[in-house]
């Protein structure tokens, strides 16, 4: 996972080069390339100077709160909305000029995908395939295969109006794939489905990317779900990309004071022990409270020790040497949620 390399290797390609490389479909050229893309609605800036490169076969998560401009960005990439400034290249084509070329290669699933309700799931897929130029027999074949793949073969001949939300979402995925795209863009694919459905959908998506080399761009505000399958994520807030990279990099980038938090459950907790822990070199802060979980041992306390380096082992030996009992110990990892949250905390400061 070295996104930085690519960024340096390819400074400003000329149009010709880009086209060539896209034709050769080498893995080197970025499939999606946005350069200071901007969209303004009157005085309101929905997308502000967004630059982004996504390589072939990558799963990229565009994360951000509601109204961050994710959907607008996606619409601009497809040429469904005019951009105010900047440039975009999808598979080597400019969506504002040759939208048809882009749309032929990119599958897009809108956030609240709609189908023709009084038609069957199969009909809907066949229609999409036919719009993409497939002959009737070929369209039928593709549609049936995909319904099998997303696990809807049983309800292929049922009207879409009878489908559940999860089934619709899976039908949406099939609909995106029926045109045999190079890139798929999913706008909030996990919205409104139950956890099991989300897991299944995400598994499908990551399988696609692994096995068929399809580039995936998905936008979401549900961070922990998405972090499982994304190779890289971009944090997108108020039209700006504030951070971009794989989760480990982001974690380092946003956690610059290198704060490590260790949680422990101790019995008995005493002022003396607190003082001993505080005396350890590198410990910044010690907080204690009652341990309130079900499995809590009566009389034990939950303690959080913040330190500037990883002192887990030292803390453990300190507690045991003091004669107290240690029941639980955990070093807290920074997930996407934390990163996200910390970003906002930082901003407020």
């Amino acid at each position: 996972m070295k996104p930085m390399d690519i960024r340096e290797k390819q400074p400003m390609m000329t149009e010709e080069k880009l086209l060539d490389s896209a034709n050769a479909s080498s893995g080197e050229a970025p499939v999606i390339e946005l350069e200071s893309l901007t969209k303004r609605y009157g005085a309101f800036t929905a997308v502000d100077n967004l630059s982004l490169r996504i390589r072939k076969g990558e799963v990229f998560g565009l994360l951000g709160p509601n109204g961050a401009g994710k959907t607008t960005t996606i619409l601009m990439m497809l040429g469904l909305t005019e951009r105010t400034a900047g440039s975009a290249r999808i598979c080597g084509f400019d969506p504002a000029r040759s939208a048809l070329q882009v749309k032929r290669r990119v599958g897009y699933m809108p956030d609240d995908i709609g189908f023709y309700e009084d038609r069957t799931g199969l009909d809907n897929l066949v229609y999409t395939a036919r719009l993409n130029g497939a002959a009737p027999a070929e369209a039928q074949k593709r549609a049936k295969e995909l319904l099998e793949k997303v696990g809807l073969a049983g309800s292929a001949r049922a009207k879409v109006s009878t489908y559940s939300r999860g089934m619709r979402q899976r039908l949406g995925l099939a609909d995106v794939l029926v045109k045999q795209p190079e890139v798929i863009i999913l706008d909030e694919p996990t919205l409104g489905i139950d956890p099991e459905g989300v897991r299944e959908l995400l598994r499908l998506i990551s399988d696609l990317s692994r096995n068929e080399g399809i580039t995936v761009l998905l936008s979401s505000h549900q961070l922990q779900q998405v972090q499982q399958i994304c190779d890289r994520v971009g944090l997108f807030v108020q039209g700006k990309l504030i951070a971009c990279g794989d989760i480990a990099t982001l974690s380092v980038e946003l956690n610059q004071e290198r704060r490590v938090e260790v949680e422990l459950a101790v019995r008995p907790w005493s002022e003396g022990l607190s003082a001993r822990l505080k005396a350890l070199p590198g410990v910044l802060e010690v907080q204690s409270g009652e341990w309130k979980k079900e499995e809590a041992i009566p009389g034990s306390s939950r303690v959080t020790v913040a330190c500037d380096r990883d002192l887990t082992a030292a803390i453990a030996s300190e507690v045991i040497h003091s004669g107290a009992e240690l029941y639980d110990m955990r070093r807290r990892e920074f997930g996407l949620d934390e990163i996200y949250h910390r970003y906002f905390e930082k901003k407020e400061e």
Binding site: L19, K103, P110, Y116, D118, L131
Partner: protein, 355 residues
């Protein structure tokens, strides 16, 4: 000769490069193969729209109403013809056309043409009022437009499918009336009568096409299907009922005295006629009355001087067509205007799902 030679002598490499260059340069313009692809997508859309319309309840109900109305009007006109209540103006000539224009005085049912000019707009409006906004509300518009189709193809497909359907309905109605008439009165139409009927049907399709376009325009402009349906029906009621009342009002308010000069009276009559002709309904009724009653010689006011020496005989088909040409042009222009407006609004509209 020289060009041929050099063409043959062009090394393959150069040739390939040239072709490659064309391909690159032509990335924005479409290659023939691609073009064919998008054209087939257009017909796929038309097919799907046609299928949707034919399966829909609203279409079935409308067809039911119209067929019933037609049967009533045919019955009425046949009764009238059998009763021998020909107005005596043109005798038995063009008897067959009376199937379309005559109604029995005892049954008090409108004629076929009246029914068509009343209910035709209703078909047009009902086929178009939710063409675009229902796709938007169901969230299918975004999905559809992210397929490799042109935006205008989407609009054109909607229009073409509905217009095809309207043409099929109008023609099958008109031809079955012809057939029924043939069976009941046992008097075959002359070729000229047949042509007149054909032209009448074509013009009816154009007229209904205008209403279709108007309602598609409303469906683009208004996000709610109900709003657009109501606007369509309001426009229809206004033009068919109230517009002529308003014109009557203006007519009586601006009337010149009986003693005024001929030129003043003519001027006033022409003024009122022009106002009247702003309405497509009026244009349509003028057109069909000219085509189906060959006795009609002029659609405007005539002075006694102009009638002197005129031979009292029906107009030939060519002359009748010539007489309604401006009306027909007006109808087409109104249709094109609506389509242009729809196009303009739709191309600039943002495609987001359900907002």
């Amino acid at each position: 000769m020289i060009a041929k030679l050099s063409g043959a002598m062009l090394p393959e490499k150069v040739w390939n490069r040239l072709r490659g260059g064309f391909r690159q340069g032509g990335a924005a313009s479409v290659s023939p193969e691609r073009e064919a692809g998008s054209r087939s997508a257009f017909w796929v859309m038309v097919q799907k729209e046609l299928g949707d319309h034919i399966r829909s309840w609203r279409f079935t109900i409308l067809i039911g109403i119209i067929v019933l109305a037609c049967i009533g009007s045919i019955y009425s006109s046949i009764t009238a013809i059998k009763g021998g209540s020909s107005d005596g103006q043109s005798g038995t000539t063009f008897l067959f056309l009376k199937m379309f224009t005559l109604s029995s005085s005892t049954l008090s049912l409108p004629t076929f043409t009246t029914f068509l000019s009343w209910l035709g707009p209703l078909i047009g409006i009902s086929l178009g009022f939710d063409a675009v906004n229902s796709e938007r509300n169901k969230g299918t518009l975004g999905r559809l437009l992210s397929q490799p189709i042109y935006r205008d193809d989407f609009l054109k497909a909607k229009f073409t499918a509905s217009l095809l359907l309207i043409a099929i309905v109008v023609f099958s109605l008109g031809l079955s009336v012809t057939g029924l008439g043939l069976l009941t009165i046992g008097y075959p139409p002359t070729p000229e009568e047949f042509w007149r009927i054909l032209f009448f049907l074509i013009i009816a399709v154009v007229y209904i096409g205008f209403w279709l376009n108007l309602s598609i325009l409303f469906s683009i402009r208004f996000r709610q299907a109900a709003t657009s349906a109501l606007s369509g029906i309001a426009a229809w009621l206004f033009l068919t009922l109230f517009y002529s009342m308003i014109i009557n009002l203006i007519d009586s308010a601006t009337a010149v005295s009986q003693m005024a000069t001929v030129s003043e009276q003519l001027h006033h009559a022409n003024f009122i006629l022009t106002l009247n002709r702003l309405s497509p309904t009026e244009l349509f009724s003028e057109t069909i009355s000219t085509l189906l009653s060959p006795g009609v010689r002029s659609l405007g006011p005539l002075t006694m001087d102009q009638l002197v020496g005129a031979i009292s005989s029906p107009l030939s088909l060519g002359q009748s067509l010539l007489l309604v040409w401006p009306q027909l042009t007006g109808l087409l222009a109104a249709t094109v205007l609506c389509f242009g407006l729809s196009y303009y609004i739709f191309m600039r509209q943002e495609v987001r799902s359900r907002n």
